[in-house]
Structure formats: structure tokens, C-alpha cells
């Protein structure tokens, strides 16, 4: 990136962070409340019936999953909703006429998605950990998976935001792809408890590796090795980013 593009990328990143921060009650507060409700309902119902990894209580097991689910969903929502809103209201023109490279767009949108994901994740963690402190085995794994996972979801949100032309298309993407994949990724259960077919399906879901690797940082145990998870999530991040960058370079659905 040249000088203009670097300053431009920094400005766009700042604008994207400012955008969600100005409405943080909805963009951070609401997802924290949702996660707490999940914890109260599922934790209350299952705490005395389920033990995971032999010794981990269900509520403690659930907390990192809820944190990561919130990180992923909000990282996706930040990039995708910002883009689709700008496209539909027409103010994307301010960006389109600016001398920003496709790299500048990518870095800014994905960077802001990571910040939103981490802000929500931190909020969920701070509020939920009082219910059952999950412990911390290795902070590095926690941070690596939080950043890489939210980056992946930010890039995916960019693609969805470029692709969708209407709010209902975006809602469909969110409800029929993102929600099932996050729900079936092992947030609420250890996939080791699943029958073989569903175990195999879970292993084909990249979201599973994001959650499993993240959770490994708390308990030091997980369904698969964190190194395998890192490989899968890293490869998915590179692949999705490459697609997002190519779409931005071509001006897919934004430069006609």
C-alpha cells in the first residue's frame, strides 16, 4: 500500500469502529445479553446432568463456547451490515470515489470486525465468568483463535455484504448459513458425545475448529489437537480472504 492508501485504510478502519461504537448498546450490549440468557437457560437445565472432558462442569464448559460464538457472529455482522447498509443507502459512493486500494478496504473492514468481535467477546466473558470461572490454561491459544476466527468471519461478512443486494438476502445468509454452522459447531456440547455420522459432519464444519481451539486455551483439553484446529482455521482464513480481496479488486457488485 502507498501512503494515501495506508492513511485511507486507517481512516476507514477508524470510521468502521466509530460506527459500531456509536450504537454500542445494540452492537455490544445486545449480544452480551443474548449470551447471558443462553447461559442462564442451558446452564440451569444441564449443569447437574452433564460433565464434559470427564471433570469439567457444564456451565464452565459452555462459557468459552458462548464467548467464541458471540465473537464470530458479531465479527460477521459488523462487516456485512456496514457494507449492505452503505450499499442500500448509497453512501458507499464516498468510499468508491476515494483512492483506496482493495487491500485498504479489506484491512479496514476485517480489522474493525475483529475489534467488534473481541469487544463483544470480552463483554460476554466479563459478565458470564462469575457463574463458573472456566480457568485459563493458555491465553495465547485463546487470543490466536479469537483474532483468527473473527478475522475469518469479518472476511466472510465482507463477501456477504458485497454479494447481498437486499436486507432479506443478508438475513437469509445469516439465518441459513451462519447460525446453523455456529450452533452445530460444539458451542453447547462436546462433539465427542455425538453419533459417528454427526461427528463426521461436525469435523467438516470450520466453525467447530474455531470453537474447539478457543476452548482448548481455557481447559487444556479439546476434541481435536489445537494445532489441527489452527491449521484448518488458518487455511480457511487465507482462502476466504483471497476470495474477498479478489471480489474487492474487481469491484464485484459495487462498480458496475
Amino acid at each position: 500500500m502507498n501512503g494515501i492508501s495506508l492513511q485511507g485504510a486507517r481512516t476507514l478502519f477508524y470510521k468502521e469502529v466509530l460506527r459500531f461504537w456509536k450504537v454500542s448498546f445494540q452492537t455490544v450490549g445486545a449480544p452480551v445479553l443474548t449470551a447471558v440468557l443462553y447461559l442462564l437457560v442451558f446452564g440451569h437445565t444441564l449443569e447437574n446432568h452433564v460433565k464434559v472432558y470427564g471433570s469439567v462442569g457444564y456451565t464452565a464448559f459452555l462459557i468459552p463456547g458462548l464467548v467464541m460464538m458471540s465473537v464470530l457472529q458479531n465479527a460477521f455482522a459488523n462487516a456485512s451490515s456496514s457494507l449492505i447498509q452503505s450499499k442500500i443507502t448509497g453512501n458507499l459512493v464516498f468510499l468508491l470515489v476515494a483512492p483506496l486500494s482493495h487491500w485498504a478496504w479489506f484491512v479496514a473492514y476485517v480489522g474493525a470486525a475483529i475489534v467488534r468481535g473481541l469487544a463483544v467477546g470480552l463483554g460476554v466473558a466479563v459478565v458470564t465468568m462469575w457463574f463458573a470461572p472456566p480457568g485459563m490454561d493458555n491465553l495465547v491459544w485463546v487470543l490466536v483463535f479469537a483474532v483468527l476466527g473473527s478475522g475469518l468471519m469479518g472476511a466472510l461478512g465482507l463477501i456477504a455484504g458485497l454479494w447481498a443486494e437486499k436486507f432479506d438476502q443478508m438475513a437469509a445468509f445469516q439465518n441459513f448459513i451462519i447460525m446453523p454452522m455456529t450452533f452445530l459447531s460444539g458451542v453447547f456440547y462436546s462433539v465427542g458425545s455425538l453419533p459417528p455420522l454427526w461427528l463426521a459432519v461436525s469435523h467438516a464444519n470450520p466453525f467447530f475448529y474455531m470453537i474447539d481451539g478457543f476452548r482448548h486455551g481455557f481447559f487444556g483439553v479439546s476434541d481435536v489437537s489445537p494445532w489441527i484446529s489452527l491449521g484448518v482455521v488458518g487455511a480457511a482464513f487465507i482462502a476466504v480472504s483471497a476470495i474477498a480481496l479478489e471480489l474487492l479488486r474487481r469491484g464485484y457488485k459495487i462498480r458496475h
Binding site: 492513511q7 485511507g8 481512516t11 466509530l18 450504537v23 464516498f94 468508491l96 470515489v97
Partner: protein, 301 residues
């Protein structure tokens, strides 16, 4: 030979696999410091041409240069030289006026731009709205912010795409005073407008676009001199004879008919008399750009 501010070179644009031809080999240059008007009816291709210039659309053929920078190959330099005021009244509802201007400034790599932002705000009558949220502004005020956003990086080439559509008299005056000042200071201006009196008053050269092709391109004074030079204006309650309908323009009771010379004026009056059309308040004056425009658009030109 100076480097043109903008150079359109055989620009074409087709949609739906070539079925619709929005622009068909458009070529012209705009010189540095020039105030240039681009006129044409709705659907002529004006906004498509501006969109290709701005990088909002891709040409199907030909190319566009801004100060010799290709808008595709060398888009960063081309866009840095351009300030575009879009036709649609768009805004980002999350920000105040000052935030919007600082952000736009940053996109162009310009930092510490507060002095110029303050000058823009006061020149466009926005000083007391600087900290108001964009949502709270009236349509006219939002339009002013659009102008300020386009100029925030001090572009040498300014493009105004129908900036006065639906805008009150006060803003039109403020806007034209400010743009005329920038033009005097050396900025090239490309204006598209439906208000032909504005183009006549401001533009030194004019291109007319019809169905994606340039049908006239000349100095404004030459265009006015070369075409119908005389205009009859009168009031009547009757319908005009069919033979005059093509060259006339009727607004309520007021009819205007263009003529090339005195003999044609006599013929028109004779036709009106023969058809027994009663006329009042007859005036004979110089044709304006609107008459030239209609003549070119209606004729083969």
C-alpha cells in the same frame, strides 16, 4: 499543449450483453481551469459518463484520463485529482457534519485538514451545523455537505452531477458563488444540469449528449450564435397550428417559437394570423440556450 483536466477518449458503455448502448464513442477534452457544461435529456448518458469518470462504473470501451491519469490503470492518482458531487442525496447517518468531512479527508490521505474544513463549512453556510448529526439536516443542508465532502481534499478537477436538482434559490446562489470562485482560482469544473440558464451563465463550453452520443460541442457563445437566434414570445389561449408545434415551446398560456431570421419571423406571424390565433404581449428577443438545446435535441443535428 496543456494536459487536459479530463479527457474522454471514445468511451462506450453497453448493458445486457450489448443490447443497450448507454454511451457510444464519446470523445472530448476539458481543459485546465475550464467551466464545462454537459447537457442532455434524462437517459442521454450524462450520469453514466460521470460514473465511469469517477470509477463507479466500468467503460465497455475507450478510456478516460484525469490529468493524464487513466481512471482504471492509475485510479488512485485520478481519483485524488477529482472531486465528485453525486446526484443522489446520500449521507452516512452515523456521523456529524465535521466527522463526515474529516473521514472523507482521511480517505484521500489528507490529515490535519481542519483549517480547510472550517473554510468549506463557512463558505457553504454550514458553520453552525458542524456538530449536528447528518440525520438532523434538511435536504438542502445535506446537499451542501455533499459539496463540502467532494472538495475536502482540494481537487483540481470538480465534477457536479445535477447539483441544483430540487434545491432552493438561496443554496443555488451560495453554491454557484463558491464554485465560480474555485473556478477563478484555477479549478476545472464539469457540470451536468437540467437548468439551462445555469449552464448558459456559468459554462464557457458546452457538450450536448443525446442517446449516448455527442450531438453538439462548442463554446457557449458559438452555440447560441450558430443556431436559432431569435425567439418570439407571446400569450395565447388557443392551440397553435400544427405546422408550428415542432419548433414551439408552450408553458401554460405562454408560447415561445424560435426563428433563424426576420423572414422566418414574418412567416410565423403570417401562419398565426391565417390560423386566427389571438396573441397578446408579443415580444421578440434573443434565443437562449434552452431554445438551442431543444432545436438540437429535436433535430437530426
Amino acid at each position: 499543449m496543456q494536459i487536459p483536466a479530463i479527457s474522454f477518449q471514445n468511451v462506450s458503455k453497453t448493458y445486457r450483453g450489448g443490447a443497450v448502448r448507454a454511451l457510444d464513442g464519446v470523445s472530448f477534452d476539458i481543459q485546465p481551469g475550464e467551466f464545462f457544461g454537459l447537457l442532455g435529456p434524462n437517459g442521454a448518458g450524462k450520469t453514466t459518463l460521470i460514473s465511469i469518470l469517477a470509477g463507479l462504473a466500468k467503460a465497455s470501451g475507450g478510456r478516460v484520463l484525469v490529468q493524464s491519469h487513466d481512471v482504471v490503470e492509475d485510479y488512485a492518482a485520478a481519483r485524488k485529482a477529482l472531486g465528485i458531487v453525486p446526484q443522489e442525496l446520500v449521507f452516512d447517518p452515523f456521523f456529524t457534519v465535521r466527522e463526515a468531512l474529516k473521514i472523507q479527508s482521511g480517505y484521500f490521505g489528507v490529515r490535519n485538514n481542519d483549517a480547510w474544513i472550517d473554510e468549506l463549512l463557512s463558505s457553504l453556510g454550514l458553520a453552525d451545523k458542524a456538530n449536528a448529526n447528518m440525520r438532523q439536516l434538511s435536504g438542502g443542508m445535506k446537499r451542501r455537505v455533499l459539496v463540502a465532502q467532494a472538495l475536502v481534499h482540494r481537487p483540481p478537477v470538480i465534477v457536479l452531477d445535477e447539483p441544483t436538482a430540487g434545491v432552493d434559490v438561496e443554496l443555488r446562489q451560495t453554491l454557484w458563488q463558491f464554485v465560480a470562485r474555485l473556478n477563478r482560482e484555477g479549478h476545472a469544473v464539469l457540470l451536468t444540469t437540467h437548468y439551462l440558464e445555469e449552464a448558459e451563465a456559468l459554462c464557457s463550453r458546452i457538450a450536448m449528449l443525446k442517446l449516448g452520443k455527442i450531438v453538439a460541442l462548442d463554446r457557449t457563445s458559438q452555440l447560441l450564435a450558430g443556431k436559432a437566434s431569435t425567439m418570439l414570445r407571446f400569450k395565447t389561449d388557443s392551440a397553435l397550428p400544427l405546422s408550428l408545434a415542432a419548433q414551439s415551446r408552450v408553458t401554460g398560456r405562454i408560447a415561445q417559437i424560435t426563428a433563424h431570421d426576420a423572414a422566418e419571423v414574418e412567416t410565423i406571424l403570417a401562419t398565426l394570423r391565417a390560423a386566427a390565433v389571438p396573441i397578446e404581449d408579443l415580444e421578440i428577443g434573443r434565443a437562449d440556450l434552452e431554445d438551442v438545446f431543444l432545436e438540437i435535441m429535436n433535430g437530426a443535428a
